[in-house]
Each structure stands twice: as C-alpha cells, then as structure tokens.
C-alpha cells in the first residue's frame, strides 16, 4: 500500500524532475558563469551541463518504466498527467494549468531529447574545448533541453507553445553563437524571423481551436476529436482550418516548403548544435505536434492531403538540392529537410506511428552524421568544403567507420535503422492517392542514397585534396558519442515504435500493409543510389563536372535552390521596402495625408489673415459695432418680424 502511494507520487514528480533538471543547470551556469570562467573551470561547466542532461535521461528512463507499469485503458493507452496544482493562467472559464502529459508519444520524445541530447552534450565537451565562450554555450544547450522537454511534455497547447517558442529562442542564440561573424548573426535572425511567420499560424490555430473545441488540453482534444464530424476533401470547416493553421507553425519549425529557407543557413552555428537542434530534436517538433493532434488531423481529409503534399514536395526538393551542395554541413541540412518531409508524408497518409518511428531513427543517424561531419571539420581545423577533402578514411578511421554506419542507415540498407522506418513509410504510402506519394518517396529514397554516398565518397575516398596537413582524429569525448550513436543507428530499427505509440492516436490497431516485394525494391533503390554515386565519385571522378556542364540549366536551378531565397529577397526588397517607400510613404503618406493635414492648416491661416483685420484695438470702434448690432436687432424685432 505504502509503495503504491509512493509509486503514484513518482509518476507525478518524475516528469517534473526530468523537465527541471536542465533548467537548474542553466540557472547555475547563468548566475555563476562568470565566476566559473574566472576560476578557469569552464570544463567543469560543460561537465555540469552533461550531468544534468544525462541525469534527466536517467529519470526519463525511470519515468517511462513507471508509465509502462500503469494499467492500460481502452486501446491499451497508458498515460499520466502530472499536475502539481498550479495554474499558469485562469480567466473565467479559460484555464491553463501547469500540467504535463506523459504517454507513449512523449515518452519516445523525452528519451530521444535527453538521450541523443546527452550524447551531444558529451560530444560538445571535446568539440568546444578550445572555445573561450563555452560556458555560455553550455548554458544555452541546457536551456534548449529544458524548453524542448517542455515542448514534448506540455499537457496543453499553450504550455507546448512556451516550449515551442523557447526552443526557437535557443536556436536563434546558438545559430548566432559566434555572433562576431556577420553571416552567423544574419542566419540567426533569418531563422528567428521565418519561425515567427510559422508561429503566427500556430497562435491563430490555437485561438481557433479553443473557440471551436472549448479546450486546449491535449488529452481532451484527442478524446473529443472522435465525436467531431469528419470533413471531406475540399470542405473547410473548423477542424480543417485549425489543422492547416497549426500546420503552418509546423512548417516553420520543421523547415517545410515554403518556410524551409532558414535551416540550411542555420549551419552557421557550432556543429553539435546543428546535430542537436537542427537535426535530432527541435526541427522534429512540427512532426511531433501533427502526430500529437493525429485524432484531429484524421478528421480532415483536406488537412491530411495538404500535409502529405507539402511533405512529399519538400522531401523531393531538398533531396535534389542536396545533390549539388559542396559544403558538408549543408548537404546534411538539406538531407534533414528532406527527411522531415518524409515524416510529414507519413503523417499525411495517416501513418502517424511510422512518422514518429522515422523521427526516432532519424534522430540517431542524423545526429551521428552531423557529429561525424563535426569530427571531420575538427580534424581539418574548420574546413567544410568537400572539394578540399577526400581520402580521410585512413586518417580518421573511427570517424569514418561511424560515418559509414550513419550513411548506410539513412540510405536504408538492411538491417540498419533507416531501412525499417523508410520501408514502413513507403508501405503506408502504397495504395494511397494513386501511389503518387509512394513514387515520390521511392524517388527521394534513391536520391538520398545517392547524395549521402556522394558525401561519403567525396570526404573519405579518393585522394586528399585539402591544404591542412595536421589531420588528427578527435578526442575520446567526441568519439564515444559517435560510437554509441552508431550502435543506435544500427539497432534502432528493431524497436517497435509504431506499435508502441499507436494507442496515442486513437486510430485503432496499426495495420501495416505487408508486401513481400517492397523491402527488396527499397533495398535495390538504395543500392542503386550508392552504386551510382560510387560510379560517379570514385571510379570516374571527371564525370560529375561533365554532367553538370551538360545539364547547365538544371544544375543552375539546383544551385540557386529553386530560387526561394531569391524570391524572398525580391519580395522583401522590391515589394515590401520599395513598395512601402513609393506607394505608402511617398504616395499615400506624403501626397495624401500630409497634403490634407497641411491644407487644413493653410486654409485656416488664410481665413484668419482676412478676419483678424477686424480687430483694430479701437474701443470706440467696437462700441459703434455694438450699437449698429443693437439697432439692427431692435429694427428686426420691431418692424421686420
């Protein structure tokens, strides 16, 4: 009995501890950061940050074990809503309690955030060892972990939104971490502003959701969604409007067309940041939100189609751009955008569990690839251009081995993680919407295998083309996380995430189409991509340049990234700035409003100039006028009237 009470309290307290530990780390580093640095203990600051996040990971594991011990409800859904009795705000019938939600979905997310995040913290110890400002770096990293946990643990939309904005802030701070570099601070601002555009949609969606459903609590929304009338394709009711508005927010955060432009630039930040925020965790927040509101999205055919279309278009577009990038981190950035598109594609065809599965495996292999690229950059003392790499596989063998695992995982080679999640997405897309999304998915898989192998071959094979001669393997604090992530990328696919999270979506049992031929097709596609890359970048290395010259037009389009940046540049410069100057300022303000205001003044001045001559200052004159007035009045009263 006593243990039972204790167990219950733990379910309430543990998630809060998971959440607040990184915040405590941030507060300590924030208040005592200067003192720590003065004592030359910046390494201690990093270790403190690692300890808080790793402890948070331990508590996450513990709370997930407690969660699994709970009695499952209908559909086998187990969840707890830890609540310490504190309201964030309360006004009339509207209340936002500080309550969390721990279910299968948030369990997966907190394990990824604290697990992968913890490894990246450890990696940062080595990567940022030589940076004078690493206390600030680790405090941001801790703050980010806190907000990300709040995002995935928040029990209602406003609380999730706080985490959502918080990770946006930390993303901005960390992209612009080297703020003395113009391009870094520009990239930070770009990320922040583009995210604000998406957040506007998110806020509107939340307001509309409260208006339409009367609640912002995630569990209540999910429970009540089943009783809402389904909205057919082309029918724009409340559910569709809410879903689409929230999806605008998801597009901003998860870098989907047309708000994807910030993510490639975000690579200006330190590489572990790219791995943590811009690959494994924050950018998947949009996928998390759509999956979290799956009961709502499944009510609207339009919203699902939009999600799938945007996802598929983004997956294909980003994969094609990645073909021509030469910066190692930018290839990975476009790859991330493409994989996020893949996840949205899965959501759009109704396979939310599969989307979370891909999110899970992607967190491993993409974090691994980013950290591996960071190790390469570290080895080459800051070189990021793949044209000046090559032949590194003998010089940095550990990095190469782990990177190879990551590449094969993302390409979808059995039995690595990417194979399972990608295969599941393709299986879900098969037979839906006339197989259009399946075709796009398969093509993207081919491109993914190709550009990732291209990256691998350009970096690690052939002859060394760089100038840096002191190529060195990274320290153990960087290699250990790489190895652990490589193991995760290798075996992560055997975790049955879709079956685990399925109850959260209230969709009934997960039925996965079984097609014996599909894994073979997917594997052959991946092998074809790798073989093509091998042919072009190892065997006949002069071919790519000839190909590029032969397909000048297409190459230019890809190099210009389909002109999104140019378009936005044109819109802001020509339409917004120039339009404001010529039309709004010179046209409307100067010629209409100023003329009206000044004209009113001038008219009254002219009137006054005429009438003030009446005032002579001669008292007798005034008296005469008075007399005249009196005579006129009396005359009128006596005779005229």
């Amino acid at each position: 009995m006593v243990t039972g009470v204790l167990e219950d309290r733990l379910v309430v307290v543990l998630p809060f501890m998971v959440l607040l530990l990184p915040l405590a780390g941030f507060i300590v580093l924030c208040l005592f950061g200067d003192a720590i640095r003065r004592h030359g203990e910046s390494r201690g600051a990093g270790i403190l940050a690692c300890v808080t996040v790793l402890a948070s990971f331990g508590l996450s594991v513990w709370s997930v074990i407690h969660l699994l011990a709970l009695v499952g409800g209908k559909d086998g859904l187990r969840f707890s809503q830890p609540y310490l009795g504190v309201e964030w705000m309360e006004a009339g019938g509207f209340r936002v309690p500080l309550s969390l939600l721990l279910d299968a979905l948030s369990a997966v997310m907190i394990l990824v955030v604290t697990g992968v995040g913890g490894l990246i913290h450890v990696y940062s110890l080595g990567y940022m060892a030589h940076d004078a400002d690493n206390v600030r770096y680790f405090s941001y990293l801790n703050l980010f972990t806190f907000f990300m946990l709040l995002l995935v643990l928040g029990g209602n939309l406003p609380l999730m939104f706080v985490g959502w904005e918080g990770v946006g802030l930390c993303s901005y701070l960390l992209i612009g971490f080297w703020f003395k570099k113009q391009s870094a601070s520009d990239a930070g601002k770009k990320a922040f502003i583009v995210n604000r555009i998406g957040d506007a949609g998110l806020i509107l969606g939340m307001i509309l959701a409260y208006h339409a459903f009367g609640s912002l609590d995630l569990v209540e929304i999910a429970d009540n969604a089943g009783s809402l009338a389904p909205e057919a394709l082309g029918q724009f009711g409340a559910v569709t409007a809410v879903c689409l508005l929230l999806f605008v927010g998801a597009c901003g955060k998860s870098a989907q067309i047309p708000l994807h432009v910030w993510l490639p630039d975000a690579m200006e930040g330190p590489t572990p940041v790219s791995a943590l925020i811009h690959a494994a965790t924050m950018v998947t927040a949009g996928v998390y939100m759509v999956a979290r509101l799956a009961p709502l999205y499944t009510r609207s055919a339009t919203a699902l189609l939009v999600v799938a279309t945007i996802g598929a278009a983004t997956a294909l577009m980003a994969a094609t751009i990645a073909l021509v990038q030469t910066d190692i981190k930018r290839v990975l950035a476009y790859s991330t955008i493409s994989q996020l598109g893949y996840m949205f594609l899965a959501c759009g065809v109704g396979a939310f569990g599969v989307a979370v599965f891909h999110l899970f495996t992607h967190a491993f292999f993409k974090a691994l690839l980013f950290l591996g690229s960071g190790s390469v950059i570290h080895a080459l003392s800051g070189e990021q251009d793949m044209r000046r790499m090559g032949g590194l596989r003998r010089l940095i063998p550990w990095t190469f081995a782990t990177f190879l695992v990551g590449t094969l995982a993302i390409a979808g080679i059995y039995p690595l993680a990417g194979f399972f999640s990608k295969d599941a997405i393709l299986a879900s897309a098969l037979g839906k919407y006339g197989n259009a999304f399946f075709a796009v998915g398969l093509l993207t898989a081919l491109l993914t295998a190709f550009y990732m192998s291209r990256l691998l071959f350009l970096t690690f094979f052939g002859a060394y083309r760089g100038r840096e001669h002191h190529v060195h393997e990274s320290p153990p604090s960087m290699l250990v996380p790489l190895v652990i992530l490589a193991v995760g990328s290798a075996v992560g696919g055997f975790v049955e995430i879709p079956r685990f999270v399925q109850p959260v979506f209230r969709l009934g049992a997960h039925e996965e189409g079984h097609h014996a031929w599909l894994p073979w097709v997917a594997s052959l596609t991946a092998i074809a991509g790798i073989a093509a890359a091998y042919y072009l970048y190892v065997m006949y290395t002069e071919l790519p340049a000839r190909l590029a010259a032969a397909m000048r037009g297409a190459y230019r389009v890809l190099e210009r990234k389909y002109g999104f940046d140019d378009l936005y540049d044109w819109v802001t410069r020509r339409v917004v700035v120039d339009g404001s100057r010529t039309v709004l300022w010179e046209g409307l303000d100067v010629s209409v409003i100023d003329t009206a205001v000044n004209g009113t003044g001038a008219a009254f001045r002219a009137l006054a100039r005429g009438s003030r001559t009446l005032q002579t200052g001669l008292v007798r004159g005034y008296a005469l006028v008075m007399l005249g007035g009196a005579v006129a009045l009396v005359t009128y009263l006596l005779w005229v009237r």
């Binding site: 005032q615 002579t616 200052g617 001669l618 008292v619 007798r620 008296a623 007399l627």
Partner: protein, 102 residues
Amino acid sequence: MSADLVQPALVLSLVLFVVGALGVFLRRNIITVFMCVELMLNAVNLAFIAFSRARGTLDGQVLVFFVLTVAAAEAAVGLAIIIALHRGQDTLDVDAFRILKW
C-alpha cells in the same frame, strides 16, 4: 408720478440715453466715457420706472434694483481699471489703449 407723466419721462429717458451714447462714441477722455455709460444705464432705469408705472406692475422697479447693483459693481471695477490704465500709460485718452489687436 401720475399717468400723464409717463410719456415725458420716456422722452427724457431717450434724450439721456442718446446723450450718453453720443458721449461714449465721441468723447475721448476715458472718465467721461465711463460717466456716459452710467448715464445710459440711468436712462434705461428711468424707462423701466416709466413702464412700471404705465403697466401698474412692479417688474420694472425690480429690474432697476438689479441694474443699480450691476452699475455699482461696474463703477468699482471700472474705476480701478481706469486707475491701472492711467498708471501704465500716463494718459486717459481712450484711443491710446489699443494694444489688444492683431
């Protein structure tokens, strides 16, 4: 005042009023102007008394009391203003005081 004196009283009132008005318009000494204003007031008072007599009511006489009160107050304030003006400009010419203009 018997009833047949009403008309002569009104004529006298008219004469006094015209004399007062002419004084206000034509004289330049401010004290004379001031006295002429008083004259006009008293001319009107006389007219009120005459009408009161003619109509056999007390309304006109009541009004006279009001006019007398106002005239007393006006005399006090007016004389004070005249003294202040004389101190400032060292003259009593009405036309000299014309700074309040555009």
